[in-house]
Symmetry: C3
C-alpha cells in the first residue's frame, strides 16, 4: 500500500528530484503531511509551506521548484500540473483500498441469455440486462441497474445503483454514471391534432415516436438523476470526456461537444448543439435548436435563447439583493419605457429652448 517515488514517476510521469526510493502511502496537505505522505503545491501562494513541510515528497511544478530558497533534504516529483498529478495518485490509492469485487453475475440479477456479458464484468443484485445487450470488460453494473435490449456498455464503465439505460443506446469506455440517471428516455415530441378554438377545441396530442438512441463517448461522467433523452430519428450525442453534473436535462437530438462540462440543474432543450470545451454553469437553461460555438462559457442561472457563434462568456442572471430594494428596481424596470419617454421630453424641451441667450 505504498509506492516509491520512482514507481510513481514510472506510472504517472514527472521527474524525481531527491531520493527515488522514498516511499509514500497516502496524501495530505503540505502543513499536515508526515514523512510517509505525499503533498502537492498547486497554488504558489503556499510556496513557503514547502520549505517547512514534513512530507515524504512534494508534487511541484518546475517554476515553483526554482523559486524555493532552500530545498533541504526534501524529495520532489516535478510535473507541470501538480493538481492533476495529485488527482491521479489519489485515485490510485483509492483503487488499492477499495474492496475487490468478484466478477460475475449476481444470483439475483436477470440477464437475458442473448446478452453478451464479459467474464470480467460485475453485475450486481437485481440488475437487469435485456436481450442482445453487450456489457464490456470490467464493467460494473450496481444494484437495480437496467440495460435495455441491444444497448452496449463499453469496457471499464461503472453504472451506479438504479441507473436506467433504455434500449438501443451506446455508452463508451470508462464512463461513470451516477445513481438514478436515465439515458434514452423518449424525447418530448407531440404533433398537435386539434380542431376548433377555446372551449370548443377537440382533438389531442399525438406522440411522435422517438426511434433514435443515445450515443455516449469515452471517459464521460454523468451525475445522479440526470436525464438524457433518445433522439427522434438520429441519436442524441455526448462526445468524449464530457462531464455532466446532477439533475441535468438534455433533450432529444442534442449534441454535446468533447470536454464540455455542464453543472447541476442545467437544462438543454432538444436539437441544440454545444461545441467542444464549453462550460455551462449551474441551472443554466438553453433553448432548443440553437448552436453554441466551441469555448463558450455561460454563467450560472443564465438563459440562452439564440445561437452563440463566438467563444466568450455570456450572462443573463442577477444576484439577489435586499428584497425591498429589488422590488423598487423591478417596478422601475417594468416602466423603463416611461423613463425613456421622460428623457425624450426633456431633450425636446431643451432643443426648443433658445440657445446661449
Amino acid at each position: 500500500m505504498a509506492f516509491t517515488l520512482e514507481e510513481l514517476a514510472g506510472r504517472f510521469g514527472g521527474e524525481v528530484v531527491g531520493d527515488p526510493a522514498q516511499r509514500v502511502g497516502s496524501l495530505a496537505p503540505l502543513d499536515q503531511a508526515g514523512p510517509q505522505q505525499l503533498a502537492f503545491l498547486a497554488n504558489p501562494k503556499y510556496l513557503a509551506q514547502v520549505e517547512t513541510t514534513r512530507a515524504g515528497a512534494v508534487l511541484i511544478s518546475p517554476d515553483d521548484l526554482a523559486k524555493l530558497v532552500s530545498r533541504g533534504a526534501r524529495n520532489f516529483i516535478v510535473t507541470p500540473n501538480p493538481y492533476a498529478y495529485f488527482a491521479r495518485v489519489a485515485q490510485a490509492f483509492i483503487d488499492l483500498a477499495a474492496p475487490k469485487l468478484q466478477p460475475g453475475v449476481h444470483a439475483r440479477a436477470s440477464v437475458d441469455p442473448t446478452a453478451k456479458v464479459a467474464a470480467t464484468a460485475v453485475i450486481g443484485p437485481n440488475a437487469t440486462v435485456e436481450a442482445g445487450a453487450v456489457i464490456g470488460e470490467n464493467v460494473r453494473l450496481d444494484a437495480n441497474v437496467f440495460v435495455g435490449r441491444g444497448t452496449r456498455i463499453g469496457a471499464g464503465s461503472h453504472l451506479y445503483p438504479g441507473v436506467a439505460v433504455y434500449h438501443g443506446c451506446r455508452i463508451g469506455e470508462r464512463a461513470i454514471v451516477h445513481a438514478g440517471a436515465v439515458i434514452g428516455s423518449d424525447g418530448f415530441g407531440f404533433a398537435p391534432d386539434f380542431q376548433g378554438e377555446g372551449d370548443a377545441r377537440t382533438g389531442s396530442w399525438v406522440k411522435i415516436p422517438q426511434v433514435g438512441g443515445v450515443a455516449i463517448g469515452d471517459d464521460v461522467e454523468i451525475g445522479a438523476n440526470t436525464t438524457i433523452d433518445r433522439g427522434a430519428m438520429a441519436d442524441t450525442v455526448i462526445e468524449t470526456c464530457v462531464k455532466i453534473d446532477n439533475l441535468v436535462q438534455i433533450g432529444h437530438n442534442c449534441r454535446i461537444g468533447a470536454y464540455t462540462v455542464i453543472a447541476g440543474c442545467a437544462g438543454i432543450a432538444g436539437s441544440t448543439t454545444i461545441g467542444k470545451h464549453c462550460m455551462i454553469g449551474g441551472a443554466v437553461g438553453i433553448a432548443g435548436h440553437v448552436t453554441l460555438a466551441d469555448y463558450v462559457i455561460v454563467t450560472a442561472k443564465s438563459g440562452v435563447s439564440k445561437s452563440l457563434t463566438k467563444a466568450g462568456i455570456y450572462t443573463s442572471a442577477f444576484p439577489a439583493v435586499d428584497h425591498a430594494d429589488w422590488n423598487k428596481s423591478a417596478a422601475l424596470l417594468r416602466n423603463i419605457d416611461k423613463l425613456r419617454d421622460r428623457i425624450r421630453a426633456l431633450e425636446a424641451a431643451l432643443d426648443e429652448k433658445p440657445q446661449g441667450t
Copy 2:
C-alpha cells in the same frame, strides 16, 4: 410488416388518391423515400419535393394536393394533418417491430396476493406490487417498478424501469411514465412550532401528514425523474392528455388542466391550478396558490408569482449576452432609482427655467 394504403386509411382515416393496393413498409423523408416507403408533406415549403419523390405514397393535406402542378402516377393519402398521421403510422410500425412481451408476472417480481393483476399485464423483474393494487389490461411494469398499496394503474399504461407510485394513487389508461419518475411522494408541508428568537430559538418543524393521493387521467405522459407529490387532504390532479417532460416538479394539491404541456425542469409549487391547453416552457417556476387561465403560455425560464387570469403569452426571462455588457446593465438597473431621480431633477430644473426668454 407492410400495409396497403387502403389498410392505412381504414385504420387511420384519410382518403386514398391513387392505387389503394400500393404497399408501404416504412417511413422516410420525401427526398430519400423509395417505392416501398411512405413520406409526408407537413411544410408547404417542400412542395416541390412531392413532384420528384420516389416514395410509394405521400401523406398530404387537401390544400397542398391542390397546389401540385403534376401528380404523375403518384399515390397519396389525403388528410388534414399529415404530421399527426405520420406520427400515428410511425407508432404502428414501431409496435409491429417491437419484441412481443410474454404477459405474466416475472419470477423475480413481488406481487402481493391481494393485488389484482390483469392476465394480459407484463410485470417485469424486481417489480413490486403491494396489497390491494389494481393493474389493468395490457399494462406494462418494467424492471424495479414500485406500485404502492391500493394504487390503480389503468389499461394499456406503461411504467418504465424504476418508476415509483406510492400508495393510494390512480393512473388512467394509456399513460406513459418514464424511468425514475416518482408519483405520490409526500407534499412539502410543515407547521412551525418554534419559541424564542435568534440563537435562543427552540422547537422544531412538525410534519403535516399528507393524506391525499395523486389522480392522473388518461393519455398522460410523464418524463424521466419527474416528481408529482400527493395532496395534503384531497388529491393532486393531472387531467387527461397532459404531457410532462423530464425533471419537472409538481407540488401537492396542484391541478393541471387537460392537454397542457409542461417542458423539462419546470417547477410548480403547491396548491396551484393550471388551466387546459396551457404551454409551460422549460425551467419555468410557478408559485404556489395561484391560478393560470386556459390557453396561457409561459415562455422558458420565466417565473410566475401571481395568477394569470387571461389567455396570452407571459415572460420574465432575459437572454444571455456578453458578460461584461450584462454586468454594466445590471449595475445600472440596481441604481435605476438614481436615474429616475436625475430625470426628476432635470424636469424640476427645466420647469424653474424661465420659458421663452
Copy 3:
C-alpha cells in the same frame, strides 16, 4: 381507534377544558366536524365557526379561547400552537390506520452478512445492504433501496423505494427520504490537464476523487429525486431537522444549518454554507463557496452569487408579464447605458445654460 381528550393531552400536551372523557376518532374542519371528531382553530378569522361547530372538541390557543362570546357545552384542548398540535394528532391517527409491517428482511432483499440490521427493521423486496452497513431499530427500507458499504441509517428512519445511499454515509434518526433520492454520489470535481489552445488543445479532465461522505442529522426530510453529493475530503453536512423538497441538488462540501428549509428545484453549488433557520425558495440557485447567515430568506427563483452575511430577505427574480411588454423593457434594459448617457448629456446641457437669465 379513538382517544379521549385526556389521553391526547397526556400524549401531546395542552389543557383540557370541558369533558376529559370525550372521545375523538378523526380530524375534520370546524364547519364539517361531527361529535366524534377533533377540529382546530389556527386562524382567528374563523373564530365564529367555533361557536357553531358540532365538533367533539376544538384545538384552540388561550388567546382565541378568551375571545369566544360563548363556549356552550363545547370541549377544548388549549395549546399555544393548534396547527402543530393538529399535525401531531393527524400523524398519530395515520400511524394507527397504517398496515403493520412485519419486521425482518424480505426474502428477495440482499443483505451482506457483515451488515448489522436491527431485529425491528423492515427490509423490503430487492433492497441491497452492503458490507458493514448498520441499519438501526425500526428503520424501514422500501423496495429497491440501496445502502452502500459502511453506511449507517439511524433508528426510526424511512427510506422510500429506490433511494440510493452510497458507501460511507450516515443518516440520523427519524429521517424520511423520499423515492429516488441519491445521497453520497461523487461531488463534481475535475482538474484541468490541457495543453495548447483552440483546435490544437490536447489533454483531458482528471477526476478529483471524492473521499468524504455525507453526514445527515436527526429529523431530516429529503424529497423525491433530490441529490446530495459526498464531500471531496471531509463530509457534506445536513444538520438536524433540515427539510428539503423534491429535485434539489446539494453540491459537495456544503453545510446546511439546522431547521433550514429548501424548496423544490433549488440548487446549491459546492462548498457553500447555509446558516440555521434559513428558508430557500423554489428554484433558487446558490453559487459555490459562499456563506449565508442564520435566518436568511431567499425568495423563489432568485440567484445568490455572493455571501449574505445578515439575516433578511433577498431577491433577484422578476414576475412574468405580457410577453411583448417584457421584450420592450428588456430591450431598454440592454441599452440602459444609453439612457444614462442621455441623462448625462441633458445635465451637461442644463449646466451650460445661463442660470436665471
